[in-house]
């Protein structure tokens, strides 16, 4: 998808003034946060499992080449193919070649963030192949021609009323006066509409949550069952995934599975966790007769060995964005690319460059909730700080910010000057604000006071008080 991350400030501004979006985002707190808290409280070993998950992925990343090669061997042994792709363009071409080989007219798709990353749908359409999203959320946003706004709940920004309009507009063969009031009405209609598409599809595309080096299996974790019907009924199963998804063994996958669903939706296990290994066997009653794994790098290998390596531990649970006050205020589209929220604020500049996405690491209050809930213990705020430094070093930050920082540096590195100036400033503000106790507006702080009052200082500075009290004791 075309990134608009450079317009983050405008995007965020629009989002804050979008009443419908704000209503939709209100569901975030009761939905994800409460359920996660409940699930984590129900497993005393949760924190210990997080430590193991972190150590496990660290081990994988330092042996990544080894595990990738073993994975490939096992896929081939099971009768499948691995397509190594450096760039989104190579990945798109690899998928297209498989579709062409099968003379595909229609492909069904389970939810895949890597497929979004390589903008697969637009490319297939441009080449005369119809992609059909089957995850309900993805289906809704495909009808709306929108990108996902959340990595596990892609249509979280859409309200029920909007979905009803979309369904009536697109499902024109159905009674226009049918009721679309209850969530059940929508799931029934989508179920009915998508059933035939599964059977028509020549190719079924899914993503992968994990790749297992021990067995050459790809793993999807879903709740609807659409990813399973996609790979079962498509004649060929294509898995679009990336190199850091690999784990050594089935036991290692079990550890991460204990963390994934709890962190994501607050379930102990998602409804369907499916391990796919090669094409159907000769005696099997059903299943796809081809199996292809598209293995994308797209800048990930270059993140190894840098201060951003830890980001590659991410298992895409979405806990960070579900608990982020910035995400909750502006939603996912404001971030302007595939991955929103705190994980997106680190991953996006890593994959598409700090020049395009430099605003994103700044879209954080550093409250630290993302790191606190991350099951892979990824130090997200620290990495955002690294990006802010890079942005500054590259001279990409705005002139005002640079000038402000220069003034601040001059003050903060001269304690006497700093104390003298704050003393004067606090005394002046304290006197002027004595009457009301707050300021409606202040010179140089218009951005701050435009939405809230500034409390008036009481007069002496903190350091004054500190000195006085220490003198007393």
């Amino acid at each position: 998808m075309q990134a608009t991350s450079h317009r983050f400030k405008d995007n965020a501004h629009d989002a804050l003034n979008d009443a419908v979006l704000q209503r939709a985002l209100g569901n975030l707190k009761t939905g994800f946060q409460e359920r996660r808290r409940h699930a984590v409280a129900g497993l005393p070993e949760f924190e210990g499992l997080c430590d193991e998950g972190r150590d496990l992925k660290n081990h994988v990343l330092t042996h990544l080449d080894y595990y990738l090669e073993r994975f490939e061997e096992k896929v081939i042994e099971a009768g499948g193919h691995v397509h190594w792709c450096r760039t989104p363009a190579e990945a798109r071409e690899a998928v297209l070649a498989i579709c062409r080989e099968r003379d595909a007219k229609t492909v069904t798709k389970g939810k895949s963030m890597v497929a979004e990353e390589i903008a697969l749908n637009d490319f297939l359409e441009a080449n005369g192949i119809e992609p059909v999203e089957t995850d309900l959320g993805e289906y809704i946003i495909q009808l709306r021609k929108e990108p996902p706004s959340h990595i596990i709940a892609p249509a979280i920004h859409v309200t029920q009323e909007q979905i009803a309009e979309d369904f009536r507009r697109h499902h024109t063969d159905l009674d226009p006066n049918r009721p679309l009031d209850e969530p059940r009405d929508f799931t029934d209609e989508a179920r009915q509409k998508l059933r035939d598409r599964y059977f028509q599809a020549d190719v079924g595309i899914t993503g992968a949550n994990f790749l297992i080096a021990e067995t050459g299996s790809t793993v999807i974790v879903t709740n609807e069952g659409n990813g399973d019907l996609t790979q079962l009924l498509g004649k060929t199963h294509v898995v679009v995934t990336s190199i850091e998804k690999i784990v050594p063994t089935l036991d290692d996958a079990a550890t991460l599975l204990r963390l994934l669903a709890r962190s994501a939706t607050g379930q102990e296990m998602s409804v369907y966790t499916t391990f796919s290994t090669g094409p159907r066997r000769s005696a099997d009653g059903d299943g796809p007769d081809g199996f292809h794994v598209i293995l994308l790098d797209n800048g990930r290998s270059a993140m190894l060995g840098t201060e951003f390596q830890d980001m590659l531990r991410c298992i895409r649970c979405s806990a960070c964005m579900n608990h982020c006050p910035v995400y909750a205020a502006v939603g996912g589209h404001a971030y302007g690319w595939v991955y929103p929220g705190p994980m997106g604020a680190v991953l996006t500049p890593s994959l598409i460059g700090v020049e395009e996405a430099g605003h994103l690491p700044n879209a954080s209050t550093f409250c630290g909730r993302c790191e606190a809930v991350c099951p892979m213990r990824i130090p997200l705020p620290k990495m955002m700080r690294h990006y802010r430094m890079r942005e500054f070093e590259k001279g990409l930050s705005p002139v005002k910010a640079r000038w402000g920082l220069a003034v601040w540096t001059a003050l903060a590195t001269r304690p006497r000057l700093y104390q003298g100036m704050t003393k004067v400033a606090m005394a002046v503000l304290g006197r002027f604000g004595r009457l009301r106790g707050r300021f409606r507006s202040l010179p140089l702080a218009g951005g701050w006071t435009s939405v809230r009052d500034m409390p008036a200082p009481q007069g002496p500075t903190f350091q004054d008080l500190y000195r006085r009290r220490r003198g007393r004791s």
Partner: protein, 225 residues
């Protein structure tokens, strides 16, 4: 240089080393050669068979399955019939070939003549399927099903109602016990489904709704063996 070699070279360059060999390869090689278990939650520790079955039943109900317990395999047909009647569902089903004549565990339906029983895979026209499982994980109420000639995967996903038969001897504590069983059986099947409850979605305003693509109902019949 192929894309494959370039990606591997880029990984190695970033890690500041060449390909792993000998001693350097050992930690990864050993991990694959002899998989070790990581931390396993205490939840299932020290439970006997009856304790594991009780936990499985509790966990299955938590994930919105319905559960019946019967004394032996011969009681399965009547349990299926009474479930379908109770839920007001059509009196017909498709059973996995494993339950058919010549299957691993043939079921005798002569005492339930009003039930229409077909044997085979699913093509989307079935109302209800009846399948065995490979194992059932008490820790989370998860059923483990594998693809094969006697157990086509479509039965697990296409019908509106899925009935799974779990024998008490198949109930394991943690997921890792199911992996041990799977490894013991040779090459991993094409599809291994871990199923925890009926299909659901939260995509309409975060409200949980059952049965969006997969089965709306998952009924578990636990057989005491």
């Amino acid at each position: 240089m192929s894309a494959r070699d370039q990606i591997l070279a880029s990984v190695r360059k970033s890690l500041g080393r060449g390909p792993l060999t000998g001693e350097a390869e050992a930690p990864a090689r050993d991990r694959l050669a002899a998989p070790v278990r990581n931390l396993i939650p205490d939840r299932t520790a020290g439970r006997d068979r009856a304790g594991l079955v009780a936990l499985l039943v509790e966990k299955c109900r938590e994930t919105a399955c319905s559960v019946d317990e019967v004394r032996d395999m011969s009681a399965v047909p009547s349990a299926v019939q009474s479930y379908l009647t109770r839920e007001n569902l059509p009196a017909r089903l498709t059973q996995a070939p494993a339950f058919g004549a010549g299957g691993d565990a043939p079921l005798d339906w002569t005492d339930t003549p009003t039930l229409e029983v077909a044997t085979g895979g699913a093509d989307g026209s079935e109302d209800t399927s009846l399948t065995p499982v490979l194992a059932a994980v008490a820790e989370t109420g998860t059923l483990v099903l594998v693809s094969g000639s006697e157990t086509p995967t479509g039965l697990n996903f296409l019908p509106e109602t899925h009935i799974a038969v779990v024998r008490a001897s198949q109930v394991v504590g943690p997921l890792e016990d199911a992996w041990t069983q799977l490894r013991g059986a040779g090459a991993i099947p094409r599809t291994v489904n871990l199923i925890t409850g009926p299909s659901r979605t939260g995509d309409i305003e975060q409200k949980i709704q059952m049965g969006v693509h997969g089965p709306r109902r998952l009924h578990v019949i636990v057989v005491a063996d």
